[in-house]
């Protein structure tokens, strides 16, 4: 379990810049795939054929991209102005280290010393206040090495504890890692399984539709790292998920009601197999399941989520046992195989 998670989280792949993640996954799994597909938007799809008795297709999806920053201007003093790639709250950036561009030039987000703040002491920073410091003193000097449009990624050391992972980009390298773990130890089934590593989820669910069109799956399962909120900022009633309580199953998210047959199948499989699970208590945050529902014939899908604290920030946190529950449930669902018959049941 988690064979690749550390390496996955160390890769820098903000939306539109997923190629390092794709190259890594391809290098680990392509030679054991029955077919490898890449498309024009940048998705990677790997096929594992079933024993051949069934023509059904299950697609597993996780997105390779992470939130990040992009250089949008260079100031006269050589500092970089940035805007977010995906949903980033500027309040989590002050004083944090970053790496800039393909060359991974080190830098950090500097913020005015507390002594000098007069009217801004209790004012949250806005994007106009966020400047990346990379040691340049002049605009021309910086522009030579860092063109406008350069991607900037968080630079956070991956840390593992007894039952915690602390890292950047767990949303959604956690999902990518689950797919890779499943690939490594896949139950033998009759039907075909497609592993979709998709791009640009964080900027509007832009990759998954094209990937699904390549596959035309009967049904899909989307693996995400989702919001937790189980910290002192929210009362328990407002928590989204709770760490250590198992894989989080979603029934409605970002305005889309997931397929009830799949949701019930996931709940039933988890219950019967005594796999810890929880139902996501909040409906915030879209996933690629929403895009799939708008793709082709409205591809039915289910969502298996790892609860994640502080996602979309340089430092996020998941529970290893929740990750394990997600893997366990996915393996059971795949092995039992009822998932690909789901279209035959009534809604």
């Amino acid at each position: 379990m988690m064979k690749w998670l550390k390496e996955l989280c160390a890769l820098h792949g903000a939306s539109g810049n997923e190629h390092p993640v794709k190259a890594f996954i391809r290098s680990k799994l392509a030679d054991r795939s029955d077919a490898v597909y890449e498309d024009g938007i940048g998705n990677l799809v790997l096929l594992r054929k079933g024993a051949g008795k069934s023509a059904k297709r299950l697609m597993l999806l996780a997105h390779m991209d992470e939130v990040g920053l992009m250089v949008t201007n260079i100031e006269e003093d050589g500092r970089l102005a940035v805007m977010p790639v995906g949903g980033v709250d500027p309040r989590v950036l002050l004083g944090k280290p970053v790496v800039i561009g393909e060359g991974e030039i080190p830098g950090f987000i500097g913020y005015q010393a507390i002594h000098l703040q007069k009217n801004t002491l209790t004012v949250p920073p806005e994007w106009k206040d966020i400047r990346v410091e990379a040691g340049f003193t002049k605009k021309e000097q910086a522009a030579e090495k860092i063109p406008i449009g350069t991607y900037i990624h968080f630079h956070t050391e991956y840390e593992e504890f007894e039952n915690r992972i602390v890292a950047k980009a767990l949303d959604d390298r956690g999902g990518c890692s689950i797919l890779m773990d499943l690939f490594e130890d896949l139950p033998a089934v009759d039907y075909d399984i497609y592993f979709g590593f998709v791009v640009q989820e964080e900027v509007g669910l832009r990759g998954s539709g094209a990937a699904a069109k390549l596959v035309c799956p009967d049904v899909a399962l989307v693996f995400e790292t989702t919001t937790a909120g189980d910290n002192p900022e929210l009362s328990p009633a407002r928590w989204s998920t709770h760490l250590d309580q198992g894989v989080a199953l979603s029934y409605l998210q970002g305005g889309y009601a997931l397929d009830s047959r799949i949701f019930e199948l996931l709940v039933d499989t988890a219950s019967r197999n005594r796999i810890p699970y929880q139902c996501k208590g909040r409906t915030v945050g879209g996933t690629d399941a929403t895009r799939l529902a708008k793709t082709m014939y409205g591809i039915p899908s289910g969502g298996l989520n790892i609860p994640g604290r502080y996602i979309h920030a340089p430092v996020s946190m998941i529970s290893k046992s929740d990750y394990q529950s997600a893997v366990d449930l996915a393996r059971r669902v795949i092995a039992e195989g009822k998932i690909v018959q789901i279209m035959e049941g009534s809604l």
């Binding site: 309040r91 002050l94 004083g95 830098g107 913020y111 002594h115 919001t227 900022e233 920030a313």
Partner: protein, 334 residues
């Protein structure tokens, strides 16, 4: 082994020494100053004092504080979170920051979290982080080996960017490094008074270390080296710039003759300096040294992003501050 300033700064930035808990910093500095000092000792306040015997007529104290900003645990929540109070730190730089908690059972890791954007509301988005709402997630330590009063320090790694060095606690360990450089350069000189290089404790909470040191040493004059804001536009204030040399302060805390003497030494030795007007308290160890009736001087190394998890300093400014100090100490005619 040849001296490497970056290596010293890396060592100094990586160790933790919040006010009154400077032990690990003392250890690093002790190893650097011992070969160049006649005596190295720790006093009751936690100052590390490197004494270098000179002509024996007069005594000069050079104070550089070695403590750093941080936090202190104010409450341990059973769900695996800590509430904290700040020590000189801006709460706005805290969200998504890794920290080290110094417990009786050793250093433990923690994370200051903030709700993901998905769970923020119109109201909460308008709020700046503050110590009433900040928390440290320590749920990775289910046995919760924490107590109210445990110190918390920022976990950030230093980096070299261009000609600058950036990292935590360079306020004021950059100045400690300048003192080390001065001590080394004095090896080649013989004409100086008795010198006391004080690596002082507890500056960030009121310069208690410098207070004790100046009382016990009773020097003829005291020099504080600290950092000052560089590359920032402060209204009504001349801009101090990184890379343009140490800033000589002038104001009520500064003995005018000392200020002039430093200017003269800088000019004679071709050391570029900047001037900083300090019309009141300096916010450095000099404030306490002067209260003992000792003529005092403040030299500042320009720094940007002071009290941030990553503070920025120009390497040449540290070297030149060390050289200015060595020149002054051996050329001062008292």
């Amino acid at each position: 082994m040849a001296f490497c300033l970056e290596k010293l700064l890396e060592e100094l930035s990586m160790v933790d020494g919040p006010p009154g808990r400077e032990g690990p910093v003392r250890k690093v500095l002790d190893s650097y100053v011992r070969p160049y000092a006649d005596d190295v000792y720790e006093d009751t306040s936690g100052n590390l004092i490197a004494q270098k015997k000179g002509k024996g007529e007069k005594k000069i104290l050079v104070s550089t504080h070695m403590d750093e900003v941080g936090m202190i645990v104010s409450k341990v929540l059973p769900e695996g979170f800590l509430r904290v109070e700040g020590i000189g730190i801006d709460p706005k730089i805290c969200p998504s920051q890794k920290v080290r908690i110094h417990t009786k059972q050793g250093v433990k890791r923690g994370v200051i979290g903030m709700l993901a954007p998905h769970l923020q509301t119109e109201e909460t988005r308008k709020l700046a982080a503050n110590f009433d709402t900040l928390f440290v997630d320590v749920s990775m330590h289910p046995d919760l080996p924490f107590r109210v009063g445990d110190f918390v320090t920022l976990d950030s790694k230093p980096m070299r960017l261009g000609k600058t060095y950036c990292g935590k606690a360079l306020d004021n360990r950059a100045s400690c490094a300048a003192s080390v450089i001065a001590l080394m350069q004095l090896q080649k000189r013989d004409h100086f008074p008795d010198l006391f290089f004080v690596f002082s404790s507890r500056e960030e909470v009121g310069a208690f270390g410098a207070c004790t040191a100046s009382k016990s040493i009773q020097p003829d004059l005291g020099i504080a080296i600290d950092v000052t804001h560089g590359n920032e536009s402060v209204p009504n204030t001349s801009k101090i710039e990184l890379g343009k040399g140490p800033a000589l302060a002038f104001g009520p805390v500064i003995q005018p003759a000392l200020f002039k003497a430093f200017q003269a030494v800088a000019e004679k030795n071709g050391i570029a300096v900047q001037t900083e007007a300090v019309p009141g308290r300096s916010g450095t160890d000099a404030d306490m040294i002067q209260l003992e009736g000792i003529p005092s001087m403040v030299i500042s190394i320009p720094q940007r992003y002071m009290h941030n998890p990553i503070e920025m300093i120009h390497l040449k400014d540290i070297e030149e501050t060390g050289r200015l100090l060595a020149c002054f100490l051996s050329e001062w005619e008292g």
